[in-house]
């Protein structure tokens, strides 16, 4: 079977399939000479490489590009440079991931005011941040009157 057809079938079958073009492009670049099936879901992706004359079949677990971006942002919020921490928090804005919320709560105690401000915005912006924002008394000055 052609790998393109398999990929299409996999996307149809995957209940939580989401667009991760970057990952698909990367897989295609690396395995364009192999037959493969890529299954994507909210937890990442699994790549099934079919056997050929030289190589046995194998399975790889791949983080999605979206997941990779979250991981990279989380790396930034742990950096000693305040600008990097702010950038990391900015890149987590609106992402429905508990790790983003955890990072923001932690950085509410950051020594830099600007980092604390960005952490507060992230909590206020997080889909599940309302309860924490209320408990901590965070006020969104940008909220509509």
């Amino acid at each position: 079977m052609h790998c393109g057809a398999l990929t299409g079938l996999a996307l149809l079958l995957a209940g939580n399939a989401f667009a991760d073009k970057l990952l698909r492009d990367q897989v295609h670049q690396q395995y364009k000479d192999r037959s493969y099936m890529l299954i994507e879901d909210a937890n990442g992706a699994r790549l099934y490489l079919f056997a050929n004359e030289n190589t046995a079949a194998s399975t790889l677990s791949l983080p999605s590009a979206e997941k990779s971006l979250v991981d990279m942002a989380l790396d930034k919020v742990r950096q000693p440079d305040a600008r990097a921490r702010i950038r990391g928090l900015t890149e987590l804005a609106g992402i429905d991931d508990p790790a983003a919320l955890d990072a923001a709560v932690t950085l509410l105690m950051d020594p830099e005011q600007k980092v604390r401000d960005e952490a507060a915005i992230l909590i206020l912006d997080h889909p599940k941040g309302a309860d924490i924002a209320a408990a901590l008394g965070l006020i969104d000055e940008d909220a509509e009157d």
């Binding site: 600008r83 702010i86 609106g94 401000d117 915005i121 912006d125 901590l136 965070l138 006020i139 000055e141």
Partner: protein, 272 residues
């Protein structure tokens, strides 16, 4: 520059205000200028209305604020969620433009006093972007255009008395105007003053017509011209699209204040 846009509750404030606290202004000295930060007025001399506009462009930002000459915030934009991750670069706005019956020019100019306005922003890394722009009440006099030497129509609504759109048949259509060198004769300050420095002229021509599948379409030809150019030939391909045209000639002075004059012409007699 104030960068805080949130009030932390008492509990968090107490947690944050430890001995390791560092002043938020520590890296203010590294402010980055905007590539473009202009706040200016536009006068539609034909309809009789004024508005305030702004164009800001620069490094990717997540927060923007404009302060007036009294350092009072008059615009705040906070980018949120997925758009915050991406950041914005350019933003342009136009205010409402009530007619002079509703808002007299004097009242409008009192609302937006002359002076230095500050355009401030925060980059995705938390750095400050800041530029100052001078607001003046000097409005250019309106351009006085012609089309193929025919005076501009004063009334372009054919349902109103005095409809005077000229009917012009020619091989080419040239919109021309005299160089604008003075401020407006009756609006802003100073009035009727010479020495106006023109930044550029802008010509916009609109043609409304029906496409082959019966849908209304507005085709727009727009060009910005240097201050020493005072005429523009409208491309033949554009003119071939319709028989009724609206046009605008706008003059923009050095602080970006601009005055527009609108008119119209026909290229085929509708037989009325």
């Amino acid at each position: 520059m104030r960068t805080r846009n949130l009030c932390l509750g008492a509990g968090i404030a107490a947690l944050a205000a430890g001995p390791v606290a560092v002043l938020a202004d520590d890296y203010d000295e590294d402010e980055i200028p905007w590539e473009v930060a202009e706040v200016f007025f536009e006068l539609n001399d034909t309809d009789g209305d004024l508005g305030i506009h702004a164009l800001v462009d620069g490094e990717a930002w997540k927060r923007l604020q404009i302060e007036d000459a009294d350092e009072r915030k008059m615009l705040g934009v906070s980018v949120r969620s997925r758009l915050r991750r991406q950041g914005l670069t350019e933003i342009f706005f136009e205010s409402a433009e009530p007619t002079f019956d509703e808002l007299a020019p004097e009242t409008f100019f009192m609302r937006f006093p002359e002076g230095t306005y500050e355009v401030e922003g925060i980059t995705l890394e938390g750095d400050e972007i800041e530029s100052e722009t001078e607001i003046t009440h000097a409005m250019p006099a309106p351009p006085v255009p012609t089309v193929n030497d025919m005076p501009a129509a004063q009334q372009c609504d054919d349902e109103e008395p005095g409809f005077d759109a000229p009917f012009i048949v020619a091989d080419e259509y040239v919109i021309a105007w005299d160089e604008v060198t003075m401020t407006h004769p009756s609006l802003g300050y100073p009035q009727n003053a010479d020495g106006l420095v023109v930044l550029n002229y802008e010509v916009v021509v609109e043609a409304e017509f029906e496409t082959d599948n019966g849908e209304e379409f507005t085709s727009v030809f727009s060009v910005i011209l240097p201050p020493d150019v005072t005429e523009m030939t409208i491309p033949e391909e554009f003119m071939d699209q319709a028989e009724e045209f609206k046009y605008e000639v706008l003059v923009r002075e050095e602080s970006w204040n601009q005055t527009a004059f609108e008119s119209c012409f026909l290229t085929e007699d509708d037989g009325d």
